[in-house]
Amino acid sequence: MLEIKNLHAEVEGNKILRGINLTINPGEIHAIMGPNGSGKSTLSYVLAGKEDYEITEGEILFNGENVLEMEIDERAAAGLFLAMQYPIEIPGVANMTFLKTALNAQRVARGEGELKTPDFMKKVKELSAKLNVTQEMLRRPLNVGFSGGEKKRNEILQMALLEPKLCILDETDSGLDIDALRIVSEGVNALKSPERSMLVITHYQRLLNYIVPDVVHVMYKGQIVKTGDKSLALELEEKGYAEFTGEVAA
């Protein structure tokens, strides 16, 4: 599904990723943990194609295709989805309009043709009920005035609607209370399938109680310093990052 080989990336001359190697097979759930500034979010942005980063070395293959040569929207249409830590507000654009525009843009890019409005409405209604996204939230401008929990639920709604092959969750648990965390996690778990992979980025082990990973990576200073199974997350929770970074946590 995803193959990252010796990936180096920098921003304005600051080296942030220093040789990431990561392979995710179909159906696998990987978690990346690590302290602030270790490059976790950078990795997610680089995968999605944000332009602020310069790739100096390495490659990313997504189902055999060279991701680094694809436009942002082409990556999305190919099935790569990033649930963002800070979803962006777009005034005046109704959430529903945005969902429809995005879905149809992807479908057209894949040569599937636009979804008929009644079919679209039915699908959105079904999915939003599960995620506790109200009709009112669908009518409101995208993310404008949404609470932290509403924004995250809305991200998962987009993900469920777009049915990506690879879901990247960038600190989706940040700013969520226990109830919201449960709803969001259930939404994510409902998307688990043998063909769909997930990359879950988080600070805390808590999220991984709900979304159980197959593989856990510890990231530090732009490199993956340790990889293990889900017990690694518990170990981290107990001992802190210092054990793995060779430094005392601040």
């Binding site: 436009e71 942002i72 890019a109 987009q158």
Partner: protein, 494 residues
Amino acid sequence: MAAVKETVDQVKQIDVDQYKYGFVTDIESEKAPLGLNEDVIRFISAKKHEPEWMLEWRLDAYRRWLTMEEPTWAKLDYPKPKFNEIYYYSAPKVAEGPKSLDEVDPELLKTYAKLGIPLQEQEILAGVTEENRQYSKVAVDAVFDSVSVATTFKEELKKAGVIFCSISEAIREHPELVKKYLASVVPVSDNFYATLNSAVFTDGSFVYVPEGVRCPMELSTYFRINEQNTGQFERTLIIADKGSYVSYLEGCTAPQRDENQLHAAVVELIALEDAEIKYSTVQNWYPGDSEGKGGIYNFVTKRGDCREKNAKISWTQVETGSAITWKYPSCILRGDNSTGEFYSIAISNGYQQIDSGTKMIHLGKNTSSRIISKGISAGRSNNTYRGLVSAHKKAANARNFTQCDSLLIGDQCGAHTVPYVESKSASAIFEHEATTSKISDDQMFYCQARGIGEEEAVALIVNGFVKDVIQQLPMEFAVEAQKLINISLEGSVG
């Protein structure tokens, strides 16, 4: 003034037909001689079979115009038009257009295709000479259709007692109404371009809605298709009598080419007691090529007068075309409790320059006005909002709310806001809100990361930005306007 009297007498003596064949050397071209003088004005007036009072009125305007100077206060930069190198009258079809669509700017054709305009209409819009039209057969049928549609509409309007005709016809057929209302909102010497228009206007619409009548349909210039095509100096006069209502649509979303670079229209609206006029415009004149050459100069004076109590005038405009736009649709709130509204979307791209806005003049008691202006600048364009809100000392409890939002796309364009507020009434309450924003990289990234292409993302964000104004447009116009906005901004990113 003896000389003038003499000239007038001379003209009077000439029979219209003699005049037509005797006055101009090149009769076949149906064109007035180049430039502007009193003879040209007489020619125009004769062509229009106008009564003498109208000719006098025009000549008076012309003489005043000679003493005036072109205004320079707008934030616009353009070579001054050479008024003596312009033809002020030419019959609709002059064989100077492109010979076929092959000769038309391919960019323009692409836009037509995107708007889904049939080929024969493309030829008409692009000004392809009639005898060279490949689709002339089809075009003729299409026009016949439109004529029959227009006739049906005219019948229905007649039943309701609504007068809807060209201004020239109104001058001939309804002189009492024209005399009473023409220039009663925009005086002949109001400004340089309005005065020029008064002297040389050749076309435009006239609407009169009688007392208590709700006009049964939205009136559009489209239904005057069997009349002469719109000229460069349009003159429109709309009167809504007591308790009546009319909605008028002007313009066309398809980019219109015109050999005439200078356009100076005057639009006057008069709403009497309890009457309401809604005037919607979509302006999409040719903005010039990719370097900004050859675009239309659009100098318009539009003003509405809420002449009696409880009157309401509402302007909605979507401005995307023209190289230069100088336009301030305004409301005079004379009647007590009258209401004025101005909703505007002004989009500039490439090298376009727009200086536009409104004036809300509060004279009566309890008058209220609302201004929502959305300016979008892209490319190397400049977009200025210029507005005046004033309250006379007798305008007790006048209320205004103004919201001016500017959106910048790219880093080479400019947005400017010049609001003037003058209040002489202690009880007036004026509110002004203004914002300037850029489409942020984060917004773009977010849209694209969901699979939306770059240009579609810009269109989506811009459509969100202008939503409040789009909602004011009549339904079918709104859909077209949205499409047009998307097209106007193509190539503004990347």
